[in-house]
Symmetry: C2
Subunit: 456 residues, 2 copies
Amino acid sequence: MKKSSIYGAGLACSVAVNLFFLVNLYVGASRKQPGWSQRAAAEAEVVAGVSCSGHGRAFLDGPVVDGKHVCECNSCYGGPDCSLFLPECLANADGGDPLFLEPFWVQHAASSAVLVSGWHRMSYSFGDLSTISSELEKLIRRVHAIAKNAVTEGRHIVFGVGSTQLLSAAVYALSPENSSSPARVVAAAPYYPLYEIQTEYFRSVDFRFEGDANLWKNSSDMAAANVIEFVTSPNNPDCQLNKAVLQGPLVKTIHDHAYYWPHFTAIPAPADEDLMIFTTSKLTGHAGSRLGWAVIKDEAVYQRMLQYIETSELGVSRDTQLRALKLLKAVLEGDGREIFEFAYRKMSTRWEKLRRALSTSTRFSLQPTAPQYCTFFQEVRGPSPAYAWLKCEREEEDDCSAVLHAANILGREGKKYGVENRHTRLSLLRSQDDFDLLLSRLTNLVSGEDGAKSSM
Amino acid sequence: MKKSSIYGAGLACSVAVNLFFLVNLYVGASRKQPGWSQRAAAEAEVVAGVSCSGHGRAFLDGPVVDGKHVCECNSCYGGPDCSLFLPECLANADGGDPLFLEPFWVQHAASSAVLVSGWHRMSYSFGDLSTISSELEKLIRRVHAIAKNAVTEGRHIVFGVGSTQLLSAAVYALSPENSSSPARVVAAAPYYPLYEIQTEYFRSVDFRFEGDANLWKNSSDMAAANVIEFVTSPNNPDCQLNKAVLQGPLVKTIHDHAYYWPHFTAIPAPADEDLMIFTTSKLTGHAGSRLGWAVIKDEAVYQRMLQYIETSELGVSRDTQLRALKLLKAVLEGDGREIFEFAYRKMSTRWEKLRRALSTSTRFSLQPTAPQYCTFFQEVRGPSPAYAWLKCEREEEDDCSAVLHAANILGREGKKYGVENRHTRLSLLRSQDDFDLLLSRLTNLVSGEDGAKSSM
């Protein structure tokens, strides 16, 4: 074959490939012909290709300027490509945005992407007439089996809009019907603020928030009262593996296990409580998907939780369930251990850096942590908590958040958790930028400390 | 160029194309490189390609047998490819599954597909720190402007998990705080059952369901009572353009406009009420997405509805919001009128067929309908209701659902809507299979009728 005919063939080939794509894009655009997916795939790749200097990201549903998707920058970064560091900006250690897992998904781009067709699951129900994807339910059980963090065999599963919604559903489900007095809803302080906010918000005649579970421990009228105790393990904010404080024939417990994954704690044994709540937010990092699930022993409680979800909203979005299915399939590829190893490595490294930064401080202290045997890793492992529960040790510094705020650090004050402001919660599971800035600001704070212990 | 070298070039070209895809699939699989979207695109196309004889569909999240996605058949069809008609099966005219719009989305496969990356919107909030996509909000306003069915300029918008959740959010938002007596929640019968079910379920001290609004019209103590009236227009079940029954300084109204689209009614004028609720379910047909929105005049009411959503679940799934964005973009392509023309054509054709089938009957009658001027179509147009509100006319047939059930038709009985069982609701917006079977069964029923009017 002559050189010119090779070029000719190359040209023909190139034309053919281009025609193939054009046909896909424009013929496929009007009717469901092979290639109808290419427009969506191309759009997603274009958006993913927008460079934001590693300090931000463009999103498919984000703002568009001059026909182009623009960068949304991480906190403390700005400029069109997020390359501008904003030095005066507050280091954000406030909310529990689990963006530490974002790099995992960028690394697993192909296995975690999902293409949703225009006609996907338009109906109110799945083929089995339920509003819960049985395929997703199966994967959730498999993930628990791999993480060894919960017994799910023979248990019922209900989905909710994040664990958030399931907390409320559980209170409704566990409140006695037609009781003369409302159930007392309690949680051991420091406790996650939403328990109180939600319980009070719904203003039901059947339950009432009654504060710190510890205050009711030796109460004489406890034996005759209906009680619902939230048990958070690991606890938010202090990451301790809490146990129920109250016991008795009329005491029911809701185990909030959002953080009971190898990411954030050693797993001493699979949890096997009557009612346990989990969320994708703290497993895969997809807080924005708003998908949680409850694992329930009792059939009647399961039916009542289902009733809450059906009555509130006729079930959780099928789009969300499809995406979660794809994410968990990606999690389960290979031996299914990679996400736990990734998350633990990331969180334990952050904790170690934080611990070192504060090791010479006499002004600040962290919650107690200890190495513990983990059935997932099958070894004794160090701590990797989601939050630092920081204490200001100086007598006069009784508003720890204010002390940090003066050093340009945004934490969440203790009083939100039902305790005094001497403690503040610092989130460690946010983006790398947020963590790096927090660490740097804390390091400065400690290095300027009068009376710091000499460096080890 | 010789024939053999053309073949050679063709072969090389084919090999190149195949290599291109293989590289995309397998290199792209482990890192975010161009082509990472191809695996998801290919999976979606394979599932879409499963043939179910036009009487079912395979879904990406559906059951898999021997590595292949299997068909989920429409009601009354079975077999591996859904080609088997089940003659004894009940014609399903029960729920409001809006599958009449499914063919629209198959026709718009390329423009409506969306590819969700693994790292899409993991955060609790959008870039503007809200939980509501401002891009989606913009598109919703544009769709209303095209349909001419609602004033949205200067109005606030809140998203909820379907209109279902917003109904409850609205009751909470409109109930007076710290009132000595609960607000009375009412709706003119026949009314959508969920108003009663939800209001009673939440057992709030701040409101109570009090039944048919008509019964309170001339009540003397109405002037001093806090009242919340649900006004459903078009009404579910009878499709009338209802107006508020009650007026007064302490009366608040929730306008449920789920069906106020050119699909189902003439649009006499854009709705401009204080609090209006809409849903994708009845606009695009995506009931499974569970996305609704409220259009609100008053800032304080808006803030209270937002508080409900934030407290219940920290906002609606970002996956759902992304998909809705893509669907509405597809709706808005061209002049944005196509979906309304498609939906009206489909629903008016069904109504006309039903009307004709029952035209000789003395046993059954339909709700009144009349041609009406529509500002969207800019002409007088015929009816296209979402439901038939069928009445059994024979004295002894006071359970109309039972009469239909005996003829293998599943409707929804009147008592669910707060009236007697002489009426039954027949859903007309389900799949073509469901409608065809309903029509055929009704035709048989009428043709066997003693004393039917002679055919026109």
